[in-house]
């Protein structure tokens, strides 16, 4: 029963002469929080995008619970329980914050035709409000998301990824621009969902982040990428002690 939740094998993606991702393999176990770190331009975002069908990888294989999902697009992966955030802000700028959250989960409720004349909030209003409260954006809940500050939008973006309670969530720099107190909040949230949320589901995460305190505290294992390749995979302690990693990324 040690089937990995996510298994990536020899993933490659090149842009012309630039090998953005050059043969990356790793596995994520159910219930694991997996960190991805590495210098700027080392291929982390490209790795996410090719795993999630946003761009087509040159070669490689992606398995979800043993099923080959290499050809799946973002939509199918979401339907299979994979959520994500983007490195650049991706909110629905003309919708209110609350609607942003509701729309993030509504497609997981009922059938398409069932939704045709269903109530507007799909019964998700309470859940949205709870997340809004948790991220302390109550006072802007009815503002258009496009009119929020950078950090507020980032929070909305992250909250959206959790609305449908996915089994696996891929987060690309969730803490960038977020106030340190809320960074702690995000960390707690991830841990809560990971351990045993009320729903009884155990969520797993893959997190790209440059905030080392956050990563080291949160992640069970960490992968270090450099120049599109895996330099090391290990526990936070191992990574911290890795001389190579120190030189390439963490600095003295």
């Amino acid at each position: 029963m040690s089937q990995s939740l996510l298994k990536v094998t020899d993933l490659k993606k090149a842009y012309g002469a630039i090998q953005a991702v050059g043969g990356v393999s790793f596995e994520v176990q159910p219930g694991e929080i997996f960190g991805v770190i590495g210098p700027n331009g080392s291929g982390k975002t490209t790795l996410f995008n090719s795993m999630l069908g946003q761009i087509t990888p040159d070669t490689g294989r992606i398995e979800l619970n043993g099923e080959d999902v290499t050809q799946c697009g973002p939509l199918e992966l979401n339907r299979k329980g994979v959520g994500r955030t983007f490195q650049t802000l991706q909110v629905f700028g003309k919708m209110t914050v609350r609607d942003n959250l509701i729309v993030a989960a509504q497609e997981h409720k009922g059938t398409m035709f069932g939704r045709m004349f269903a109530p507007g909030d799909s019964g998700l209003g309470g859940k949205a409000d709870a997340l809004i409260k948790r991220f302390r954006i109550e006072h802007v809940a009815d503002k258009k998301a496009g009119e929020l500050s950078y950090g507020q939008q980032k929070l909305v973006d992250i909250a959206m990824a959790f609305m449908s309670e996915p089994d696996l969530v891929l987060l690309d720099e969730p803490c960038a621009g977020v106030n340190p107190s809320l960074v702690g909040g995000i960390s707690t949230l991830l841990k809560d969902l990971n351990r045993n949320p009320a729903s009884g589901k155990k969520s797993s995460f893959v997190v790209i982040e440059h905030n080392m305190d956050f990563v080291m505290d949160l992640c069970h294992r960490i992968m270090v990428m450099v120049e599109g390749k895996v330099m090391a995979i290990g526990t936070p302690a191992e990574i911290r002690g890795n001389k190579q990693v120190l030189d390439a990324y963490l600095g003295a």
Binding site: Q90, V91, M95, V103, E107, K109, F117
Partner: protein, 323 residues
């Protein structure tokens, strides 16, 4: 529902039902035309205003609906069959037209749809065996009881109100949110499980079905059709109506169609204007856009915002005055 909303609805209902009683033939004809364009642009508002798909091919559906009605009547079918037939056919063609939208967006999509419109128009013009070509199809019937212009007006009114309510329900449902999400940020939408493909196609198909019904009603109103009213220029006018009214406002098409259909007629009758009514109409459109870029229906929002800011600055002044 708020009391003020109820009152507005009542006033609108009285207006719509009573006005034609005071009008002569032409007035009724104009009012009916307006309703038909409200119906057609309601569909376009879904496609363009809510789902953000830049379609410049709406008149093609309008035309397909009109020809469907005309040809079915000529073939001896009932008028009541013509309406659902027009809607269904347009829905199907609309689904097909949605496919380019899965590949291209913005202006590219606008021209793909514009090209589709040209193609449909060419078919209407050249396939004389079916459409009568440029000679058109004459003597298109109305339902027997609605031969009088006034009665036909109420028939059209009934369709417009019923389909309007249906759309209203749809837009308030999760579908409405999904369309808006599609417009705002398709990439994010897809990663949240919103099927871009389904909603894009549906936004075209539903919009097209509305145009189809409108076209069928139009055929029976004018009782003669030929390709010209379904050419690209008409699509552009419909787009104009949606944007002038306020894209993404539910009642935008009601105002927009009034601008596009009634204002030119009104300008004609202003003394001393007659020759210049079209240039004036053009200038009015420019002026409206510059004044209210988000459409006429953004006016209440704007007034509200003004009021709020006034209150806020008053509050600030009061706060500042305190020691």
């Amino acid at each position: 529902m708020k009391k003020s909303t109820l009152i507005s609805i009542a006033v609108a209902a009285v207006f719509l039902c009573a006005t034609p009683l005071f009008l002569k033939n032409y007035g009724i004809y104009l009012l009916t035309t307006w309703l038909i364009f409200v119906l057609a642009t309601m569909g376009l508002n879904l496609t363009v205003g809510y789902a953000g798909q830049k379609s410049l091919g709406h008149a093609a559906f309008f035309g397909i609906g009109a020809y469907t009605m005309a040809l079915l009547l000529k073939a001896g079918f009932s008028w009541w069959l013509g309406i659902p037939a027009a809607a269904t056919l347009c829905f199907a063609v609309g689904l097909v037209l949605g496919f380019p939208a899965l590949r291209v967006q913005t202006i590219y999509l606008a021209f793909a749809t514009l090209g589709f419109n040209t193609a449909v128009w060419l078919l209407m013009r050249n396939e004389e065996w079916l459409t009568g070509g440029t000679f058109g199809i004459n003597d298109i019937a109305r339902p027997a009881f609605a031969n009088a212009n006034l009665v036909y007006y109420y028939v059209v009114l009934a369709f417009t109100v019923a389909l309007g309510l249906l759309l209203w329900g749809l837009l308030r449902s999760p579908w409405g949110k999904a369309f808006t999400a599609l417009r705002d940020n398709p990439i994010r939408a897809e990663s949240l499980g919103i099927s871009i493909r389904s909603y894009t196609l549906l936004s075209f198909a539903i919009g097209a079905a509305y145009a189809g019904v409108a076209g069928a009603l139009f055929a029976s109103l004018v009782q003669f059709i030929e390709p010209a009213p379904f050419a690209v220029g008409a699509s552009i006018m419909m787009y104009l109506m949606v944007v002038v009214g306020g894209p993404g406002y539910f009642l935008g098409p009601v105002v927009g169609a009034a601008v596009g259909v009634v204002v030119p007629e009104w300008l004609r009758d202003v003394p001393g204007v007659s020759d210049w009514y079209l240039p004036l109409f053009g200038a009015a459109v420019v002026f409206l856009m510059v004044w209210l870029p988000d459409g006429l229906l953004s006016l209440p929002d704007r007034i509200k915002a003004k009021k709020q800011s006034k209150e806020a600055s008053a509050a600030r002044a009061a706060a500042g005055a305190k020691p």
